[in-house]
Amino acid sequence: MENTDLQQIVEQASQEIAAAENEHQLNLLKSKYLGKKSTLNGMMKKIGTLPPEQRPEFGQKVNKAKKRVEKLLEGQAEKVKEAAYRKAVTQEAIDLTMPGRKTNFGSLHPITKVWRELEDIFMSLGFEVAEGNDIEDEFHNFDALNTPPDHPARELSDTFYIKDDVLLRTQTSTVQIRVMQSHKPPMRFISPGRCYRNDNDASHSPAFHQVEALVVDEGITFADLRDILNIFVKKMFGPHIESRIRPHFFPFTEPSAEIDIVCVNCRGKGCHICKNSGWLEMGGAGMVDPNVFDQLGIDSEKYTGYAFGLGIDRIAMLKYNIPDMRLLFENDIRFLQQFK
């Protein structure tokens, strides 16, 4: 008789507990089924009316039912709590597509970016970095570079002059001369900087940027020059970009060469940027002319060296696909902010 009663009570409690939605309802159910006035409690009080031999078994059964109800209450309390938490979290959901609070940092000029990259590449290859004056004398810009006074490059129309023998440097080779005057070989450095030519059109800027490299030591060969150019091109433009050098003339190098790289746009197939040649001219190079060494008091029998020069602006244009040199100096913020 008691068995069925107990089962019924537990069954009913189970249903009501499962339906409870909050803590308050659970508290009410707790007192209904386990409180002083609950049926289970009442049954426990009845225990004294039973024959002694039945008492233990009866007690155990009632206790078991109580435990069961307790367990159900606890389980449901956990569920109710979790549901409340989930609900609160859902209510806190926000629009994830709205823009974040970012730092509005500015941008380095693309020329500066390439300038730094050049410095970093060459410094990683053991080069030092030398600086020099923009305003130079004729000796360092021309004479010392094996450019005699009647050379066409010295004509006034190409060069900005300050005084008769003072000018705006036309190349950063001036720095190389100065370092060779102030230091002894071995030396291995680059000189990035601003140069000037009296020239102003779509493809020429009167002020432009260049990096030149000079290595002087015993046993420096043409192979070292090719090597460094190859490494540089691949580091700057990517491992798949090939380069070549072809004969040319510069007054201060012998043999002299111009450096070409495979067109970064068409990869050599031919396009408007490379004028369908598949190649882009990058700069000049060569083995330092013994005359240059002799003039500076460096033993040209003992030492050999190579030098090369590259246009920073041109590299920036190629790297960032900038079609017109003038954009570099217009400083339109809509242009500048593209290179963050």
Binding site: G126, V129, N200, S205
Partner: protein, 797 residues
Amino acid sequence: MNISYNWLKEYIDLQLSPQQLIDKMTFAGIEIEAVEELGKELRQFQVAEIIEKKPHPNADQLSICLVNTGQEEIQVVCGAPNCKSGQKVVLAPVGSKIGDLEIKKVKLRGEESYGMLCSEKELGISDNHEGIMVLPDNSEVGKDLATQLGLNDVRYEAEITPNRPDLLGMIGIARDLSALLNRKLQLPVAEISEDKTPIETLLSLENTEPKLCQRYLARVIKGVKIAPAPAWLQNRLRSVGLRPINNVVDITNFVMMEYGHPLHAFDYDKIVGKKIIVRRAKQGEKFTALDEETYNLNSSDLVIADSEKPMALAGIIGGTNSHITAETTNIVLEAANFHYIGIRRSSSHHKIFTDSSYRFERGMSSVTNEFISKRAASFILEIAGGELAKGALDSYPNPLPLNIVKLRPSRVHKLLTIEISSEQIKQYLEALGLKQVDSNEEELAFQIPSFRQDLTREIDLIEEIIRLHGYNNVQTFQKPQNITDTHRFYARRRVQDAAVNNGFSEIINWSFGDPDDLDKLQLAPEDPRRKTVKIKNPLGPSFSIMRSSLIPQLLKTALYNIHHGQEDLKLFELNKVFSVRRGQKLANEELQFSGLMCGLAQPNIWHTKTRQVDFYDAKGVAEDILQILHITNVSWLPSEEPFYQPGQAAKIAYKKLIIGNVGKMDAKIAATFNLEKPLYLIDINLEKILREIKTKLPQFQPIPKFPTVQRDISLLIPAKYNWSKVKKAIFQINPKIIKNINIFDEYKGKNVEKGWRSISFSLQLSSSTKTLTDDYINNLIQKIIDTLKNRFSIQMR
């Protein structure tokens, strides 16, 4: 590995002080980790002679000795029964120390004593405390004891790299030094006279593990007398940190320390069956070692056994069942070579690490056995007496041929760049014990001695050559030229980065300037920027000078952008400006930083309320730049630049140097550049900073151990006092505790009287020595308020 300076000198005439020797060993690749001066303690005691002994009048146990110290005759009270007149004894003079006890002039039962006659135990020489130490009659009175006993020495603790087990003995070290110093190595000789009894009649040998035991050589000596070893031998062992035990064991240890190759001695009479068996242990076999631990052996352990029991864990430790005791009269002397793999396995498995296992697990030679066995035997015969059985039992199943390694002198040059003749190469390598066996012009062939198993390839020989030739004798070719001005190089990048992080975009303009712009900026005639460098053939009149300021072009760039609808601008240029250098052909070229801000401080974005830029935005940028250049202690004073609005522009002063200006551009002047909106400029002479200000890198400051406390204060300040004055006054009150002052509000207007302003700030307080209490903080705050009231008539809000 411990090395004794004196011992080393037995084999090589060093001609080096102990200190010089450290350098030589270091460059031979033997790293010295510690140096200990031996005998130092004993140097305070001296040899003295008892001239007269008479009984103490007040004590039967004591006697009074008149002692000659070599300099004077003194009275010493002595309690030792063995002291006699005429003896040479050891005196601890007044002022010397035995342990912590200082010897003083004392009265003993009414008789004065000027020192103490010492026992060997008191001197720390042995455990002998039966009376005072008595020295031989020929001892020199007055000599210090360390010298008398030959105990002045230097012990080096060397780290021997695992490839050089040959350096685990004095001779190996001496050989390297001999090669390095080009000085002769004096190798010991061993002469033995054998008895008529063939060893085979006394003992037999079975080696069942030829792989693990590459060689086993045994000799038998009958009739030895076990006793303490002579003093010189004990001293040698002590000098390398070994404890003397008895003559035979000490001799095996001596030869081990000499040749780096361990030996062992067994008590012949304990060998059951008179047979030595080299075998693997049985699984679970019990063995009690000399460390008095009992080990459970397993089948991967190699043991030296007799017909019944293991007597030693091969190459690692001997057993108590067969070791040399005072009763031993007949011995077996073992000189074996065990494979390093087996030794390493057993030693690490049983966690037994001995001088022997340390050496065997690095790989020993199988050739030296013969010699060291003779060497040890000859010492035993000499010191412990006895008869050496004829011959030796020698199991050497697979004699290793000596390796030949070929070397091309051209390769030496190719790798090391040094020019070194074949003759020199030969000299270096033969000094190391190699032997040239063949040579032609291209190639030399060398036989490698058994103790240099590490030399197997040409490159190994090249390493030896350069080690002896001297690493630092190799010429270097690249010299850093210091062409790069590193400070300038990075300062420039850091300033650019600071501006970019502040939202600025970098612009690059040509270097040509328009002279009219300098008029527009109303620069005074004497302003250095008026001394411009003029171009003879310019592009046009407005490009006819080299710019002396970056500002005109900055303004023009701003105008260009405003015309294109971009009104919120933060622009900077970091570039050269030029001016005439008086009396010089070339010009001044200086790095300048100039920035411009106008419009909104931040883009107008939904979540962040924005505002127009103001002076403090511009100042913040300048402060950031100064901070990353590590410039502190600048003052912000009213600017004297003509093109700024007075009252909203500051010059940046570092001591007497003006390094820049920050502020609002004068509206009327801006209008001459067709700019209508408020503009803020930052103009910093980077050249001046780089040239004239020496800055230091930030140096680490300990993180405070005690918590930082924050207190907020609001004040009303008369407008005539600027913040920097107030701030300075606050810091001065207790700069050790007041770590930071952070203004969080400034207010003028309603509820604040005219001529006053309200400033609220938080103080950050912490101490490096204690946690600040409320009382302490309240007192400090009260002090701050009182000071400010007195000095600036400031009121609390």
